[in-house]
């Protein structure tokens, strides 16, 4: 449980947010040409990092907007928050 600084609403309780998993997984540009292995990689395989991880979050009980977060999963410390479409900060 921690506080999240929504880029649109400001600091709110984590309870208001929905975690959306790993960020920057690009949807395949040519889905019809993907092999089963590539589909599995896109759909299921995750880095699941212990340490600094890039993720998507949604302010589900607030502005309902999506944004990105850089978070250390070993201690839940939030390193950076940036809007969708913005370039991730270099870590």
């Amino acid at each position: 449980m921690f506080l999240i600084n929504c880029p649109y609403c400001g600091e709110r309780d984590q309870q208001e947010f929905k975690a959306g998993g790993e960020a920057h997984i690009e949807r395949p540009k040519q889905p019809t040409e993907l092999s089963d292995d590539e589909w599995a990689e896109y759909l299921f395989m995750r880095k699941n990092i212990k340490g600094v991880q890039f993720e998507r979050w949604n302010h589900a009980h607030g502005c309902r907007k999506w944004f990105n977060m850089v978070r250390d999963t070993s201690n839940d410390e939030i390193k950076a928050i940036y809007k969708m479409g913005e370039k991730p900060p270099s870590q």
Binding site: K18, A19, D37, E41, F44, K47, N48, S74, D76
Partner: protein
Amino acid sequence: MRNKYSVFSLIKNALSYHENWQRAWKDPAPKKDYDAVIVGGGGHGLATAYYLAKKHNMNNIAVVEKGWIGGGNTGRNTTIIRSNYLWDASAGLYDHALKIWEGLSQELNYNVMFSQRGVMNLAHNLQDVRDLKRRTHANRLNGIDAVYLSTEEVKKFCPIINTSPDIRYPVLGGTLQRRAGTARHDAVAWGYARGADEMGVDIIQNCEVKGIKRNGDSVEGIETTKGFIKTKKVGVVAAGHSSVIANMAGLRLPLESKPLQALVSEPVKPIIDTVVMSNAVHAYVSQSDKGELVIGAGTDDYVSYTQKGSHQIVEGTLNAILELYPIFSRMRMLRQWGGIVDICPDASPILSKTSIKGLYFNCGWGTGGFKATPGSGDLFAHTIANDEPHKLNAAFNLNRFVSGDLVDEHGAAAVAH
């Protein structure tokens, strides 16, 4: 067994004030070379080592554990054992484990306190009723004992449940598996450790894996905090940290690691003599032999390795517990803790070879791996020894995420498991 536990050994040691009991397992330094190394000294890892030695004559093996054995999820779960899963593959896997549980204390000469007190799953809406009836039929076709209970029968089996039709989520019925129950979680790890040690397995604690050495597509050994260990076979049974080990080998797994919480109350006299689970309101409760209520809560929805969960998760579970069991309203909770569980997209485990020769993974048990400990160890040992899965774990391969042949137990099984 050189140090068999019996009433005679108890009397003999009582005469010397219990000061001369032999160590249950040794504390060896790692050798340079093993035929196989198991990464992770929890119940599943120790069981794997035990069956590798016992059934496959692999005695030159080691278990490496970064902390102490049984100190991870083995000592953090709510100890529920059942096999009433919907799909044939799951039914085969979990009932295999349940059958081993039934004779495990005798086999290990170690009392794992397996108690077949029954597990009851409640239905709170019409869809629950249909799902649970369907699962009962599926269980019986697979030879697994299961009965469907009416609301009155639920009340008769566990009188403290509030079956009033006026509560927010009334009890409309339930299922009962009488062969299901609980066991003492620590004893399972200790019993397997003692048994494996007896057959020559090295159990190396405080030894963290730092890297996996590969030669092309084959495993050559592992780097640990106690030095390099050469081995051609590595079986990873690292639960919430499976992805961390996989990343060392350049693999990605379909897992997300999340905190799962549980809590226990102050000890009270016997009040609930079974296990009651309720998926819809996410509450499950049993009572330990010490008298504590053992309550399982849910997972947080974000990836975290912190071994602590959010307060609102516990609050939600306790709200449900209080509505179902008003008698607990003034109980005080003693302890609350979290464990990191590795969750697969289909909520079924992975017991599988990988694209790297000699590297095997046993992971993805998510929120319900304890019940499978003996079966998981047995089948994973088979997979490592033969470099081929047993027919009971063939469906739980890593390739199912490529082929699409998932074992989708999410929501289909008895409860959040």
